[in-house]
Subunit: 350 residues, 2 copies
DNA sequence: ACATCAAATGTAATCGATTACATGCTAACT
DNA sequence: AGTTAGCATGTAATCGATTACATTTGATGT
């Protein structure tokens, strides 16, 4: 074997090098690359050959400086380890990267310092737009994202009283549908496992739960509303709370504000000998992949995760390119009740 | 309510504006911000006040152009929806963003076009370094990442015959430990559920399986090596294969090359009436969060996911700042066998 | 009082691309 | 032939910050 020879990378070629090699001016090189149709055939081939020979790639900082763009968008996500957001991100990534945008993922992780850093980043002109999946407009101690002068779009979590486009599902109606499903199966004692109560999604899903009960003429029982915070752990805790009730007063069904809590609750209930769905029907919300892996498979509201991301991204692109600022565009995507094995009529149905 | 008045954001202040307002030169402003100790107290306060008044933030494209840095690193991940990588990413994000770096997440998703786009991005000087979680050095049709002139670091998946730092766990020894656990419980018929066979992780884990059997004096039985590709779906398929065997010739234990497959297999086996772990012990690999949620909870190899990410990021930072190029730094992090409920001695142990 | 030096600040070149405007050239029309 | 239109290309300003080098200022030593 001969030693592998590798060309040492000298300072990367710049446009002037290409121009010199092709025997034209830098302007011509730039034009050839940007709008090939305006230079004549012969020049074009000479320039393109020179580009190839030198291995030239435009320096993006220089271009950005000149045209005042970055071709980067920042995506603010509450928690990157949450599988729901991971799938939304895929949709965003597909759309954005196909349009030539890079994306910076701002994993807020509940840290105001991180949030502030990202706000400053955007204010410093490091991004052409921002996608908010986090339910609020990001802030730093002395700046607000709205003043950064870049387009914003929110998705997944609706942010009230804002004038930028938002892409969400109708949480109220969908939650209502989930609970109606339980009602139609014959359940009359239906618990609700909530999210953190400041959260807008939680508020909307709770409202849907209330409406469905009201529709069915069932009184809301405050003791059937269990506190949670969207994590598996609080699902487990809610399960214990439920088990502590004596069987007669135990609800026969439960609607959880998200899948992870539903799964935690089911696990606890089963470990204590409760049959799911026979003793307790459970409906989740989100439609994460795991809802179809667990046992029993979880009846849940499937959100169009990829599509939420893709639609929001497309909206942002429109805003960044047209600068169009259609006031208060509020896009609702359809979510679907997916019937699986965790629900059935109550044992002794009316 | 009076109409909310918002200051219209005119073109963001530039350094010259600050200089004018403070009555100094642009050089002084720049210095005040970069090395406050070199300007005298009085100037410094004047400049800082002007910075505050104008809301000045440096234009990063301009700075990057000048200092030839981007303060961005690109992270190549095979699949952003995979929970394992999501947690590695958290570790990366923590370390990198604390050091002031932004990160661009390159979600390869098996698409050569995307991969090529990202390679070009890096070659165009859009990143100061690259973190490879994807098991290979990225390529575009006409370029190779190694020629981009930026530091590389690999993590999670070892890339053979490369001279950049790599941060991984010892897959061979760890897989061996997992299988030894089964052996020590008394199992002698142990199946292996594999990953895709071109994958380096798969090769190493298979090797560990082989070694453990060899250590125990058990002959490797090719019919006990089931094909898989790291997805839940192939776990389900492998479960069916297993069920098709007549009970006498069925293995009493199985080692899966990752958790998702193990979980799929368990689900299928249980649905068919097999008791886990009584009829079949199962060990997984990775330690994803769900391994502790499923039923039964999964005995598995827990990888230090956050730490893998954080260590690799720290290594890359060292490389980017010192330019130090310590040859072939090969960091192995400890992984741990986590005993849970999916393993136990075989029914009729020797 | 003058030379010398250090500290503080200013001047202007520089990073690499884009693009408005200027120029040169050819072809077409009167 | 002379004018003009229009195309292809070149010249040079520009984006906004950093920083080597130049200049000013004041203090110190003799």
């Amino acid at each position: 074997m001969s030693k592998r020879t590798r060309v040492i990378r000298q300072k990367t070629a710049k446009i002037a090098d290409v121009a010199r090699l092709a025997g034209v001016s830098v302007a011509t090189v730039s034009r050839t690359l940007a709008r090939p149709e305006v230079v004549i055939e012969e020049t074009r081939t000479r320039v393109l050959a020179a580009v190839r020979d030198t291995g030239y790639t435009p320096n993006i900082s220089a271009r950005n400086l000149r045209v005042r763009k970055t071709m980067v968008v920042l995506v603010a996500v509450p928690d990157i380890a949450n599988p729901f957001f991971a799938e939304v991100l895929q949709g965003i990534d597909d759309t954005l990267s196909a349009a030539g945008y890079g994306l910076i993922i701002a994993n807020l992780a509940g840290s105001p310092e991180k949030e502030a850093r990202y706000v400053d980043l955007v204010c410093a002109g490091q991004a052409d737009g921002v996608l908010l999946l986090c339910g609020h407009v990001m802030r730093s101690p002395d700046r607000d994202l709205r003043d950064a002068g870049v387009p914003l779009v929110a998705a997944c979590e609706y942010i009230p009283r804002e004038s930028f486009p938002q892409v969400t599902i109708n949480n109220v109606d969908t939650a209502r549908e989930a609970v109606r499903h339980l009602v139609e199966l014959g359940h009359t004692s239906i618990a609700y496992l909530s999210g953190p109560n400041f959260n807008i999604l939680e508020q909307q899903r709770l409202e849907g739960y209330r409406q469905a009960l009201h529709d069915a003429g069932i009184a809301t029982d405050a003791s059937l509303i269990l506190p949670g915070d969207f994590t598996f752990r609080t699902g487990v805790e809610a399960g214990r709370t439920l088990l502590a009730l004596k069987p007669a007063s135990r609800p026969t069904a439960l609607f959880a504000a998200n899948d992870e809590m539903a799964i935690g609750l089911i696990k606890t209930a089963r470990a204590a000998g409760l049959q799911i769905p026979d003793d307790l029907s459970v409906v989740g919300f989100d439609g994460i992949a795991y809802a179809d892996y667990c046992e029993p498979t979880l009846t849940t509201i499937v959100q169009p995760r990829r599509d939420l991301g893709a639609t929001a991204a497309a909206e942002l692109i429109a805003l960044m390119t047209n600068g169009r600022t259609e006031p208060q565009k509020d896009i609702k995507l359809p979510a679907m009740l997916m019937l699986r094995d965790s629900t059935r009529p109550p044992r002794r149905s009316g």
